[in-house]
């Protein structure tokens, strides 16, 4: 437990806590704003002063997921009565849900973009972290000729602002047919995150005593077995921290996604702002899209929080 503290220390501690609370509140306001707008009726979204108390509704999410068009004239009562609860919300807003000839609902582009984001981010994070960990292990445990030069070279791939290479990459991708494909984005994001992953993981693996693996080698295991049984569990903290950073980078990436993709493999970041431009923006729908977009990173970080706290406080980041 903590040592006995003087009244002065207790007072300072309280001041510090109060200061942190204030900062936290300021940081949370935008998140609250987005979150609350995502549940507001359209007419309350842009009032001045902002509406704080309101009846939350899910209509923004319904609109987010469906393709809609303006109603020319009010719907007939029978049609309105026959509509399910969520469709009524759309009709109440003076719009109707677009259906195909066979009566199936036409979804908006959001769901697919969101799925694309998940696919690209998860796979590229997995690749960057696993390749980075193996590379870092090699650098950490074996004599590599020109080790420092290699490590600098790996880091230097990160020094150019990504936008600078975006146009040449786009041209090359068009030639090999990788533009607007999941694979193309996965390769880009993996390459981009790899240097970071190698550096962070090298720091963590350097801290794991070799004696553990050597004991395993003498105990009758191969190096690969020793790596999986001994090194990997010990490196979990570092892997978690690296994975979170790689995931956030890939998830939020905007410039490459904007240039390299337009439909099939487009991710959420370039899609959400594109909705602002089409006609009079419905801010509640945009807020709903942004709000959903925030969730995966929050959940991922929350799940790994125990590893992260330890990962931040020692290991490579400390250096």
């Amino acid at each position: 437990m903590a040592a006995v503290r003087t009244p002065r220390e207790i007072f300072l501690n309280r001041v510090a806590i109060a200061a942190v609370m204030v900062v936290l509140l300021i940081m949370l306001v935008p998140i609250y704003w987005i979150g609350s707008t995502a549940f507001k009726p359209r007419n309350l979204a842009t009032t001045i002063p902002p509406t704080v108390f309101f009846q939350p509704e899910v209509s923004p999410f319904v609109k987010l997921m469906t393709k809609r068009s303006q109603l020319r004239k009010p719907v007939e009562q029978e049609v309105y009565d026959a509509a399910p609860w969520w469709e009524k919300m759309v009709l109440d807003g003076g719009e109707k849900v677009v259906r195909t000839g066979k009566g199936k609902i036409r979804p908006s582009g959001y769901g697919q973009r969101f799925t694309n984001s998940l696919i690209v981010s998860i796979i590229s994070t997995f690749l960057a972290v696993s390749m980075g960990t193996l590379t870092a292990y090699g650098f950490s445990r074996f004599k590599v000729k020109g080790e420092d030069d290699w490590l600098f070279f790996i880091l230097s791939t990160r020094m150019l602002p990504p936008v600078v290479v975006a146009i040449p990459m786009y041209l090359m991708y068009r030639v090999v047919g990788l533009n607007d494909s999941h694979l193309g984005l996965i390769i880009l994001y993996t390459a981009f995150n790899l240097s970071f992953s190698v550096w962070i993981m090298k720091g963590f693996i350097d801290e794991i005593p070799r004696e553990y693996e050597e004991a395993a080698l003498v105990d009758g295991y191969t190096r690969i077995q020793a790596f999986f049984k001994i090194v990997l569990p010990e490196a979990m903290t570092g892997i978690a921290a690296t994975a979170v950073f790689c995931f956030i980078t890939a998830w939020n990436e905007y410039a490459f996604a904007l240039i390299m993709t337009n439909r099939r493999a487009q991710t959420a970041p370039p899609y959400i702002p594109s909705q602002v431009g089409s006609g009079l923006p419905d801010w509640t729908v945009i807020a709903a899209g942004t709000f959903l977009f925030l969730l995966p990173v929050a959940i991922f970080t929350f799940l790994l929080r125990n590893h992260l706290l330890r990962g931040m406080s020692f290991g490579a980041i400390r250096k």
């Binding site: 004696e211 105990d219 009758g220």
Partner: protein, 355 residues
């Protein structure tokens, strides 16, 4: 069970030579202690035998077979280190099972459990089996490390200063236990230490290592009573042997500087030759009628004996005397030595001239 042979093993780290043409032979079932100061190359020797390091030159043979191409797993040796050798995430049982679960051993779970229980009983760590190793005391950890070696029933045990991190009492207790273990298992042990008491009390044979070279091999008593040179003479025995420069003259050692004379009955050396005379502290006698006068400079009381540091001119000499002998600081006493116990070394090369 196995014998080990090292032939001309050299290990270079860049320009730094850790081992220089090391020749070593350890018989089957022997408890061999390698004694050397820090940096002498003890750990390097073990790592080369275990297969964790490749020698720059020379051969390692186990049971007469050159094992250059065998990896660590194939050599079937067990290694106990000073620290860090337990897997921190596993329980004691997990640690003991770990080497047995390797695919090369093909043991079923009943056999594994049996071996673990037996080893735990031998080392008296059965109550610890389900504890996490992180919170064990140093002595407990070292028992578990030894346990992890014995469950394997390896051909050779390699131990790198396994006791040096422990306090004196525990060290003594584990020393006895290790000897007993060696007797029970009958396996070949190579035990490395910088502690000469450990070496003397445990080894069937001692090898004294100096800067990557083996200086002398022998039983503890051979190494103690007939050291090949002044290095070994100083390395073995506490307090170390007294070494005094002087001249051999008519069966007398005439010591430099203040020229006190004492008899020498040993062989070797010619009259008038320059010498380094060596005498163990317990072979110095304090008597009223003895030939040389000295002043008591320091007294260490060890219970059974007292270790005196006496001053003659510019020389300081260690002497071991019975604890009940009444002595006082700064007291003037007279001493002599047992002439037949004096060893003569070449003052230039340090070689023992008496053998």
């Amino acid at each position: 069970m196995a014998n080990i042979q090292l032939k001309g093993v050299t290990k270079e780290y860049g320009v730094n030579k850790a081992l220089r043409g090391l020749d070593l032979e350890i018989a089957d079932g022997e408890f061999f202690v390698l004694l050397g100061q820090t940096g002498a190359g003890k750990t390097t020797t073990l790592r080369i035998i275990a297969g964790l390091e490749k020698p720059t030159d020379g051969q390692v043979l186990i049971d007469g077979e050159d094992v250059a191409d065998w990896n660590a797993a194939e050599r079937d040796v067990a290694l106990v280190l000073q620290q860090y050798s337990l897997y921190p995430r596993l329980t004691v049982r997990g640690n003991l099972e770990f080497p047995l679960k390797s695919r090369i051993r093909k043991l079923d779970s009943a056999q594994i459990a049996e071996r673990v229980d037996k080893a735990a009983a031998t080392l008296q760590i059965t109550p610890l089996l389900d504890r996490k190793v992180e919170r064990l005391s140093g002595g407990e950890m070292q028992r578990v490390s030894i346990g992890r070696a014995i469950v394997r029933e390896p051909r050779v045990f390699l131990m790198d200063e396994p006791l040096s991190a422990l306090d004196a009492k525990l060290r003594e207790a584990l020393r006895v236990e290790l000897k007993k273990l060696h007797n029970d298992l009958g396996a070949t042990f190579l035990f490395v230490t910088h502690d000469q008491v450990e070496a003397m009390s445990m080894g069937d044979k001692i090898g004294v290592l100096n800067r990557g070279k083996l200086v002398q091999v022998g039983t503890p008593s051979q190494v103690y009573s007939a050291p090949l040179n002044t290095f070994v003479a100083r390395a073995v025995g506490t307090p170390p042997m007294n070494l005094l420069k002087g001249t051999l003259s008519g069966g007398q050692a005439v010591i430099d500087a203040n020229g006190f004379e004492l008899p020498v009955n040993g062989q070797g050396g010619q009259d008038g030759q320059r010498m380094t005379f060596g005498i163990r502290p317990e072979d110095i006698r304090l008597e009223s009628g003895a030939p040389v006068e000295a002043r008591i400079f320091d007294i260490e009381d060890h219970g059974v004996v007292k270790i005196l540091n006496i001053e003659v001119g510019e020389h300081r000499i260690h002497a071991t005397v019975p604890a009940r002998m009444p002595v006082a600081l700064d007291e003037t006493i007279r001493f002599g030595w047992k002439g037949d116990k004096v060893l003569m070394f070449d003052p230039e090369t340090g070689h023992n001239l008496s053998i």
